[in-house]
Each structure stands twice: as structure tokens, then as C-alpha cells.
Amino acid sequence: MASFPDKGWCVEAHGRLVGGNPTASAELCKAILPPLVGWLRAKGRTTNKELIRDAATDALVDYIKHPDKWNLKKGTLVSYICMAADRDLLNALEREQRLRRREVLIADVEDEGFDRNVLPENEALTDAIDGLLSALERQVTSATDRRFLTLILKGERSTDEFAEVLGIQNLSKQEKARTVKQHKDRLKKIIERLRNRLNAPGK
């Protein structure tokens, strides 16, 4: 794995950047980007290479465009950029997870009115789903149901995973499948009822 440049080099490069040298950005990108990507990978928050690359690039570019944000007295340049990249990556992962939960939710309630292809652009839809998720959190209070619902929202398809939550691993395959389906249907009905209530006129 490529190693980060030392503190002295970073301070000098920072000086060139602040001084308006047009090549300082290239020096910094070439010296910091590869080890930063390696560091993020080693941290193990995700295996998604694209998200890691984007987070590393965005953090570095943000520093290059606003070098005054870094305060030398508060820490090294490398630690500042690493923290920023890690924060960007966490935010990106959160956005991705949220989007996935929404897609699964839509797929599970099988609502023909929702077009999954327009999800990111449709603010009204986003608001509707946010409302639905909050209402669900209030409505489903049982710990088992919450764990079960979490699996549904994660897109889990394995009956065994659901069976484990319900504590029915020892039942026969058919029995497990039947019981899991009953619970799924019950929770889907709750989701549908909440959705209908949220979509009702005046809401």
C-alpha cells in the first residue's frame, strides 16, 4: 500500500497551494490520493470501490479548493483529509442504505403507484416514504417485529434468517416457510394501512 507523505512535505505543499501555484493541486493529489484510498479500504467500512474512490477524491478536492479550512495547529494535513474522507464515506453509505430501504419498502408493499425509476428525483415520493418509515417506527413496538421488519427493509430473502428472529429454527422447512410468510403478511398489512392513512386526503 502506498504511504502518506510526511508532515514537512505536506506543510510545504500546502504553502504552494495557498500561494496560488497551479501545480500544487497535482502534487497533493498524486501524493495523497492513492494512500488515502488504501487507508479507507483498510478501514473496512465498505468494499464498494467506487464509493471509496469518490469519498477520497471529494475530500481531497474540498481541501484543495478551501485550503484555509485546515488548521495546522489542530492536526496534520493527512489526518484532516483522512477524517474528511471517512466522514464523506459514512454519509455516502448512509444515503445508499436509505435508498435501498426505500426501494425494498416499495417493492414489498407492491404499490403500483410508485415508480422506482423516478425515486431520486421525486421529492414528494421521498417525503411520503420518510413519513411512512417514521410512522412504522411508532407503530411497530415489539422487539421481534422490529427485527423482522429490519430484515424486510434490508431486502433479506432467506427464510432461515427470518425464522431465527422468530425463534423457530427447529421447525420443518414447510412449517418455517408458512410461519415466516404469516408474519411477513401481517407486517405488510401494517405497512399498507399506514401508507393508506398517510395518502388519505388532508394528510
Binding site: S25, R53, I64
Partner: protein, 134 residues
């Protein structure tokens, strides 16, 4: 020499910066698209190797609103990358013109391409000096 994995990461970052006018990556992308060239063509015109284009792409775009600053920025970049500063200056000005024209014409691509090629054709005259006239 840089490991291949580092080069992959750097090239991916360059691709992400192609839409950001702060970086030379956007100038290279505009020029490449307008003249329908590839990196080999651009590197040859600049008198450098293709790998040097990655370094070039990460440089800040020269200050275009002041001729003195523009020239000093271009020379500093050319010196760092190891390319012909006159060609680099011409390339940046062409990309800038194409980008400006595109904004005003809404992208009448064939006309822009013809204009850009005519301009580039000037540089093919062997009797003309390579570096930009002042």
C-alpha cells in the same frame, strides 16, 4: 515508478474531475470532446507521454482573466508536466473558446468542431513558430 493500482485510482479521480472547471481535467475533456481526439493525440501534440496527462489533469486551470497570470500559470504547469507550453496555452484557449461558444449557441456541435479544427489547422504549418506569439 508508480504502481499500476495507484495509476488506476488516479485515472478514476481524473474522470471524476472532468466536469469541474477548477481542474485542467475539464480543459482536457472539453478539448478531447470538441476535436474528437484521444489521449494519445493530445499527448503527442503537447510533446509529452500519456501518463503525464494525469499530472496535467490535476493541475489548477490557469487564471484566464489576466494575460500575465495566464502565461505564468501555463509555463509553471508545462514545466511541471514536461510539455510544450505554447501548445498547452493554445489548447487551453481553444477549449475555453469552445466552452464559451457552446454556452451561447447551445452546442451546435458541427459548427464548433469546424471552427476548432480550423484553429488547430493553423498550428500544422511547419513555417509557423511552435510557441504562442505574444
Amino acid at each position: 515508478m508508480r504502481p499500476e493500482s495507484d495509476s488506476v485510482e488516479l485515472r478514476a479521480a481524473v474522470a471524476r474531475l472532468e466536469g469541474d472547471p477548477f481542474f485542467m481535467a475539464s480543459v482536457l475533456a472539453d478539448y478531447r470532446t470538441a476535436l474528437r481526439l484521444n489521449d494519445q493525440h493530445i499527448a503527442k501534440a503537447l510533446g509529452c507521454n500519456v501518463e503525464a496527462l494525469t499530472s496535467l489533469a490535476f493541475c489548477r486551470t490557469p487564471r484566464l482573466n489576466n494575460e500575465k497570470f495566464f502565461l505564468s500559470d501555463v509555463q509553471a504547469i508545462a514545466n511541471y508536466v514536461g510539455c510544450d507550453w505554447g501548445e498547452l496555452a493554445r489548447m487551453i484557449r481553444t477549449a475555453q473558446s469552445v466552452s464559451t461558444l457552446k454556452r451561447f449557441t447551445g452546442g451546435a456541435e458541427d459548427q464548433l468542431l469546424k471552427a476548432a479544427r480550423d484553429k488547430q489547422g493553423d498550428g500544422d504549418n511547419p513555417d509557423k513558430p511552435k510557441s504562442r506569439k505574444r
